[in-house]
Symmetry: C2
Subunit: 344 residues, 2 copies
Amino acid sequence: MSPVTNRQLYLHQRPVGIPTADDIRLRTVDMTTVGDGEVLIENHYLSLDPAIRDWMSGNDTYMEPIGIGECIRSTTLGKVLESRHPDFVAGDYVQGLAVNGWEEYTINPGELLSKVPNDGKYPPRYYLSIFSGAMGLTPYFGMLELGCPVAGDTVLISAAAGAVGSIAGQIAKLKGCRVVGLTGTNEKAEWLVNELGFDAAINYKECENLSEEISKVCPERLDIFFDNVGGKILDAALLNLSDHARIVFCGAISSYNASEPVPGPYNYWQILAHSATVKGLLTTNYVDQFDRANTEIREWLESGKLRFSEDIVDGIENTVEAYTRLFSGMNKGKLLVRLAAADQ
Amino acid sequence: MSPVTNRQLYLHQRPVGIPTADDIRLRTVDMTTVGDGEVLIENHYLSLDPAIRDWMSGNDTYMEPIGIGECIRSTTLGKVLESRHPDFVAGDYVQGLAVNGWEEYTINPGELLSKVPNDGKYPPRYYLSIFSGAMGLTPYFGMLELGCPVAGDTVLISAAAGAVGSIAGQIAKLKGCRVVGLTGTNEKAEWLVNELGFDAAINYKECENLSEEISKVCPERLDIFFDNVGGKILDAALLNLSDHARIVFCGAISSYNASEPVPGPYNYWQILAHSATVKGLLTTNYVDQFDRANTEIREWLESGKLRFSEDIVDGIENTVEAYTRLFSGMNKGKLLVRLAAADQ
């Protein structure tokens, strides 16, 4: 039976600082009927990604902002309840890439929607975590195509226990690098070293002088800095560059909640002083290589060379609170919200 | 007859802001005798380069700072008066690369010293201007190796009428690009277009909103931004990037006189949003290609495809005042000081 109503989180006002339940509100709306070429999806998991914060702003960015009153756009994993689109049938598990939203049901015109296997080998939700662009492909292309790791390189990762950082660091290890992670709790620092095989991890919240701490832990200086954070952490890393260092600019989560213009790195000059390169990473540049990348990621997973963590919160009503954990550095691995309809 | 005394400019105190005659003072010192392996040089021309300002600071940089009380380090062109070094004889014209100084005579232990031809074809001082690393090789490698120009690309150059910018723009033109220069006077803007063949030039001092002006003049957006300036000009350029744009980071003259830490570009995020790349340029990375580059630069000069300007000021006592013109954007082409001993 088709659902009659839909609970969804919508943008009530543009957040100033970290989003709150005042900015993103829950409402119940009536369902519309499924039109020609459309698919009705019952969402099981919502993906909570830093990039969504940027879409909540009115800023110039690489995607359209979310409009006031609109459902919060995100990637979701769900099951098709009804299809009037030739490529999908009821019962399919599907991922809607950055076009679905934080809601129980989505009607999608087949746009950026793809079927995911439900063959018992992996839970379908893996397509929001390790098999997703955001967790798997982003660090894959960022590290390999932009970082260009060479065995023996020293690699520093910011937000190293996050979805992207935790994978980026392991990929650098697979390439024979020495890998150091920056993270915000001792528990996560231990996890990086003991479970994921990082060579060292620094709890940046306990450092009086982060640049000096990086110098101590990375006396050979940095060949690659894989940056998800920006701000002061980027500045500390810039003071430790090797000549010809590569800075993979994957994100700048430290600035996503800023209400004033955020200055770029004060140590920008170090890029010149060390003939370094800053490379902006958009995974969509590598669409033609996604299949090859996914194959390699699966091989690493199946052979135990790559590990990952999912941080799963239950209930659409807990989404906003969960989302703020991204910005306080409290999540470990990929942050997901599981909705009531989830069957696995 | 050997000189007995030497007038030299030395660093009396580290400048705060634009260097003044209080910071850099003229003194007369006694000459020492020429030791084994050393060369006595009579300087004819001093090279006035933005990088020297950085050496006057105590900052971490890619060369040692100039010590308090030391002669201001620079590249000079001079004639050998006496040689106890096997590679040089009296009468040779020589260039001392960033190891000589702002003084009438230099005793050099053969370090980074090279003979330059005096065969009547070109004035030897060209080895401080168009045949120097700073004016010829820097834009050559910066544009070709880091900018990677492709015919049809839109290229923006900051400090376009300066020694580096004026050559960088012409090299991009030779590669079939559309080239726009940013400069600080209408006279220089006209020179760029009418004499050097730039497609357009913007007097940034007359723009209320530089980013919008760049948008108007470069509706196709920027494939390459060759940056000598940094600061607000870099921020305006970042708002106009094409996807996959290359930012050649050659200098940041807007910040060399800062007495407080200078923020990096506020629009740093645009690097990610456009999958752009910022590449720090140090010409010394290309030493093994200098001969090839110099050959090509000469061919362009001799066939009239490349033009350049020298801005020559007479008298060691006018050096500091001349030097400040670099920072007010008043020089056109390569800024040199001609000393009394110059014979051509």
